[in-house]
Amino acid sequence: MFCRVCYYDLRGLSEPRCPECGTQFNPADVTTYLMEVPDLRAQSLRRIAWMLAIALVAAFLIMVHLVPSFFFGPPSSGH
């Protein structure tokens, strides 16, 4: 039983309010709190993996298809 906003442990509280962030909850309503803390680390790693994949695809498209002369001129041009 954890706060939906800050994931504070709400078990054993005397009043239905998160002492960390003030969010109210109803112990009888499971939609007002979380039963488990989400795995934030796994979510972050998954997000970074997606960002990396998209960035690599974008880099490939920039280099090969979209604007082939954007970065890459003849070697003598200073690049």
Binding site: W50, M51, I54, A55, A59, G73, P74, H79
Partner: protein
């Protein structure tokens, strides 16, 4: 948690972001005017201006793809992490990987190219960061930033004679 203020007028518009559109305009001007006319005299235009424009021009559409795939929150200005992440990834791609295939891409590695990427990312990040935190919010709507932050509408009514 997203720290973008609710009071900031508008939100990040991705490909229609003013920074992206400005970078696109400068890129086209450089390609068709500045480089042919001034490139022989000022080596910055043919050598480094496109590198400088890399992040401001390409990051917004890439973040739009991130948004469409649900990787990032909609309408949020680019964060420092997103800027640094793409700066590092693209620097490695363009200055480490691409030169390995120089016969295909006709490119060589250069530390100044990375510096140009970083400078462009820094300038874009300053502007996006300012808008995210509302410091230039009023400027974007043609109002006084200080008065806009205080919630005062200082638009001058148009009076017809």
């Amino acid at each position: 948690m997203d720290k973008q203020r609710d009071g900031v007028p508008g939100s990040f518009k991705y490909c229609f972001d003013p920074v992206c559109l400005t970078a696109l305009t400068i890129y086209l001007a450089n390609r068709w005017f500045m480089k042919p006319h001034w490139g022989a005299y000022i080596s910055f235009f043919p050598d480094y201006l496109n590198d400088f424009l890399c992040i401001p021009l390409f990051l917004p559409p890439v973040l739009l793809v991130n948004c469409l795939l649900g990787v990032r929150q909609r309408s949020r200005y680019p964060t420092a992490f997103e800027l640094l992440f793409h700066l590092v990834v693209w620097s490695v791609c363009f200055e480490v990987v691409a030169p390995l295939f120089s016969a295909v891409f006709h490119t060589t590695a250069g530390a100044l190219d990375v510096a140009a990427y970083a400078l462009g990312a820094g300038v874009a990040g300053l502007v996006w960061g300012s808008w995210r935190h509302g410091r230039l919010a009023g400027v974007w709507h043609g109002r006084s930033p200080a008065r806009f932050r205080r919630g005062e509408d200082v638009r001058t009514p148009i009076v017809f004679p």
